[in-house]
């Protein structure tokens, strides 16, 4: 198993938005998805997902609707809105810029 890393501060929103860009998911699903795709490197503090989801919903990036899981359990599914998609684009661009800058600094000396 790969060593676990804490998320870089401020990236949780972007990861959630990216995860949801593939389709609606509930909170548990978002946490699993991030873990799996990052091959267990990124460890989401699953509890902190919920305040973040509420904040993003209030900002109009997400929509929340109750639905039913394949196992017939009630769960709340989050969907990306147009505003959310736009936000994801902005955050991705910003993040890429920062990463590139950091890499330039790291390579320089």
């Amino acid at each position: 198993m790969a060593p676990k890393r804490d998320l870089l501060p401020g990236t949780l929103d972007m990861l959630v938005l990216k995860t949801l860009s593939a389709g609606a998911l509930h909170g548990y699903g978002i946490a699993q998805q991030i873990k799996q795709i990052s091959r267990d490197v990124l460890q989401v503090d699953e509890g902190s997902l919920y305040p973040a989801l509420q904040r993003m919903r209030q900002r109009g990036w997400l929509k929340a609707d109750w639905g039913v899981t394949p196992n017939n359990q009630r769960a709340r599914y989050y969907t990306l809105t147009t505003a959310g998609r736009k936000q994801l684009g902005e955050e991705q661009a910003g993040f890429a810029e920062v990463v590139e800058a950091i890499q330039r600094v790291m390579r320089s000396v």
Partner: protein, 877 residues
Amino acid sequence: MRLLEIFNRLRDRLRRDELSAELDEELRFHQSMLERDSRATGAEDDAARFAARRQLGNAGYLREETRATWSLGWIDDALQDVRYAARVLRHNALFSVAVISTLALGIGANTAIFSVVNAVVLQPLPYERPAELYSIWTVPTAKQAERYPASHPDLVDWQSSATSFTGIGGYVFNRWELSGPEGVDLARSIAGTSTLYPVLGAHPLIGRLPRPDEERVPVVAISHRLWLRRYAGNADVIGRKLLLDEEPYTIVGVMPPGFHFPSPDIDLWTSLYPVTRAVGNGTINPWLTNRGLRGYRIVGRLKPGVTAASAESEMNGIMHRMGASFPDDDGATDIRLQSVRDDSVAGIGRALWLTFGAAGLVLLLACVNVAHLMLARASARSREIAVRRALGAHRGRIVRQLLTESVLLGAIGGVAGLAVAAIGVRVLVRISPGDIPRLENVALDPLTIAFAAIVSIGTGVLFGLAPTVVASSGGVETTLREHRNGPGRNRLRAMLTSAEVAFALMVLVAAGLVVRSLVSLLSTDMGFRPERVVTMALSFPSSRYPNESMRSPALDRILDQIRALPGVTSAGASTSLPPARMQQSNGFSIEGDPAPLPNQEPTAIYVPATPGFLSSIGVPLLRGRDFGAQDGAMAPNVALISESLVRRHFAARDPIGRRLQVGDLWFTVVGVVGDVGYEGIGKPASPTLYVPFAQSSFGGVWVAVRSSVESSSLIVPIRDAIHAVDPQMNARELRPMEDMLSETMVRPRFQAWLLTTFGGLALILAAVGIYGVIAYSVSQRTSEIGLRLALGAPRETVIALILRRGLLPVAGGIVVGLAASLGLSRVMTGLLYGVSPRDAITLVGVTALLAAVAIAAAYIPARRAARLDPLGALRTN
């Protein structure tokens, strides 16, 4: 934060409970999924639950964090504080009611007075840029305290030479009998020169004011009051004819309510037609051409950027040059400017501010009392607060909580105070004298309500602050271990008591002075005896009495009819009537005396009177004889002079038989009569010159009838007696002289009534405050007192001990209050009659009253303490 986010937050805040339940369900689902994952890797149920919980994190913290996104931050905190405060206040209903009613009284009284101050003094006058308007007065260089009007030629010269003003206008007063299909009325008017109305820049409600080109056209604008009374507020009044002394004037406009130029008793604003129309045999009215006839009040509008001082110095330069050209009429004369606002509220403004100040002090007293209560309760709650601090409550949070409580109290007190003010304003307007300008505009308008709101919140902070600081200071553990008053807290209480006594004393001094002034007004010897005298006004309109010589015989016939009525002992008439109806004042000279310097000619109130007038109003004849039937129009001119005229102008010489010149006429002095004032109660009697009405008749007279019967029973017979002579003549203001007298006393009475009310409130609040503080300190020291008693201290010693400690701050407050009253005594000058603002009797009297009340208030709890059962008292702690 963007608008959408704020909106969503607000919406979430409102369905917070629903969201919370949803979050719980969501978390349960999440946990059940994690448990399932765990079990799938082979964990036992308990272990799976534990692992799931660990993975999800601190559920309490998580919920708190999420809930935070549904809250409104400090607003929610404040709401929570308010809810908590409301609960606390509900649980202490007695305390809350005491505080709220105290505040309601204080805030209500202040708001009511503020609404009057606002309408009368603060609201801009109904003219364009009223601050530019100045009255221009002429002042004899030798008598700088005097203020005189100007003549028409003076006005014309000023208009052409002064550069400081955009315009200068003048006006004269008239009194008319209004007639027409709407009935007969009596009204006062001003007639404005062509420039007056443009200078004022006033805006009529409907129609317009007389135009500059209408100086010789009979047009008039009427007051809102007259419009409602006479025309029922009908808009088609414009263009109608109004008969003024039976001459038709065209109504061109209606002024808005609250337009009082220059004083509230004016109902008509005419063009200069009453002066410009040809008089008598077609000659030009001397009031237009004679430079010596100073009958015009002058108003000028300063050019923007010109100061009153520079305008005044320019006007003085012009006037001094005019004095060189016309030494007889304009010599030795200076100019004074006075702002129109000061003119219009002269005296009233000052009295209002004084009342407002008294109301403010009463409010401060209320605040101090409430602070006492809060302090006592803060002590009682010190344990609660210590516990909350021990549990980790921030000091700032506790201060905020306590302040919320007091501001909430202040706000509730403010709402109750507005109700008190609504009643107070109605009472004030009803009982206040009618001569206060713009009183009809008094209302609880937005500004007044804003005032009440600010005062309420301000008082809440003010009385809440001191107890809050005390309550939140001090170590947690000491408070928890024992609760005892620190010395700081006692010092604060003593200071509050001192302040309270000082405030109360200041209000009481003001009230005492005004009451003493009223008493001295009422007890002044006015020089006449109004008991059982009926007075009325009659006029001789030129339509029915075209010839001046017709007036005196008609008046004689009317007086004879009245004298024949049963019960009537004497009757007479004159053109002026004490105490406040002065018709005119004239310059005169004494035969044989050196000619006076220009503008220093002696003046006297000039009163044409019939035989019997002076004895009817009870003015004594001191020497010589009264007028008689022999002093007719054709007989030699005679005069009676008042004592003060003799004193001032004859010194030790015998005036009887000397001759006085008034205008072109010579009068021989035949008698000396007592002094009587015509210029208002409280004004000293001026030298007065009486001449026979038959020798100097006038278009209007006051009739006085003395009788041996009840005055009011004569009203109808007198009316009939007048109609018997002239069926068209109507007596106006026909009533007992004492009624008229009490009317002139309305203002001093009103002022005294208001201030005594505030004085009484202050006294009660101070007494309650002193009582409360001492009763509280006794209750705090029960065990100490019990110990003293148990050890054999005499009860008198205990009483003395408590009185001494309780009354020391009272004594301090009295000293401060007396010093402050003396320091502020200048405020009162001009509002008092016959009593100095530093009147020793008042100061000693109110101090004694306050001290007595304080001792009584302190004695009750002291005596209760001395009666304590020592054993019971010792056991209390």
